[in-house]
Symmetry: C2
Amino acid sequence: MADETATTGLLGFKPQLVVPGMNAEAAVQFYKAAFGAKEVRRVAHPKRKAEQELPLILSAELKIGSSFLLVSDRFDDAGEDGSAVASGGGILLRLEAEDVDAAMKKAVTAGAEIVGQVTEDEDGVHGKVRDPFGVVWAIAAVGKKCPEAEA
Amino acid sequence: MADETATTGLLGFKPQLVVPGMNAEAAVQFYKAAFGAKEVRRVAHPKRKAEQELPLILSAELKIGSSFLLVSDRFDDAGEDGSAVASGGGILLRLEAEDVDAAMKKAVTAGAEIVGQVTEDEDGVHGKVRDPFGVVWAIAAVGKKCPEAEA
C-alpha cells in the first residue's frame, strides 16, 4: 500500500447510473432516443446469464457527444450499494485507480466515509466511499473488467 | 429550431455538483485533498462579487485524472434548481448543446420532464430536464460562459 502522500494513480472517472427494477435496458434506449447516445460496450452479469432470460446489465457504456455514461442494473445482492446511491438519484462517480486501497485510504483521510469495503468480485476490485458532499465514488482497479458476455 | 430527427449538436457533458450552504470552496478543497484534483478554472458569480466578501462560486472546474468535475455553490435564487437536484445527491449532468431548444425538445419527446425552462442569465443559455431515471440534465449552450471574474 502506498503512503498517503504518494500518487494513488487516479486515471479518471465516469458517471454511473444505477437503475432499479431491471430498467437499465430502458435507460439505454432512452439515452439513445433523447441524446443520440451510442452504445460502445455492454457487459452482462456473468452469473445471471444462465439462470434468466434477460441478463442483468452489469455495465452498458454509452457515448454522448465526447462523454461517457455507464448504465447498470441494480443487483438484488447489492443492498449496500443500493442504499449508498439512494440519495444520489442513482448516480455515482466511478473512479479508476491503479491502487484502490491507497486511493480509498486517502479519500477517507480527507473526510470521506467508507460505504463499501474493498472487495473483488465479477466487477473487479472496487470499494466505495461517500464524500462529505453526498457524492458516492466507486473506486475501481484499472482494467479489471468482468469478462465480456454475449448480449 | 431544428426538427427532432436532426442532430442537436451535443458536444458532451460534465458532472456538476451543486453544493448547499456556501460550501463549494470546501468541496473544492476536499477534492484536492482526496483525489489530487487540479483546479483548472473558476468563475465567480458576477452579481455577488460587489456585495459579499466571499463570492459565490458559479463554477469551479476540477480535473481529476483525465476527467472533469464542476463544483458550484447553490444560489439562494435557484430554488427551482435546488429542488431539481435535491434527489440527486447534488449531482446533475451538464450537457453542452449547439441548439439548446432542439436538445430540450428531443429529450422531452423521449420522455424527459422539463424542470427548468430555457433561460439566458449570467450562466448563459440553459434549460433543465429530469429524465425518467431521476437524472437531472442541465442543457447549456456551447461556449456561453459567464465572464471570468477575479477570484
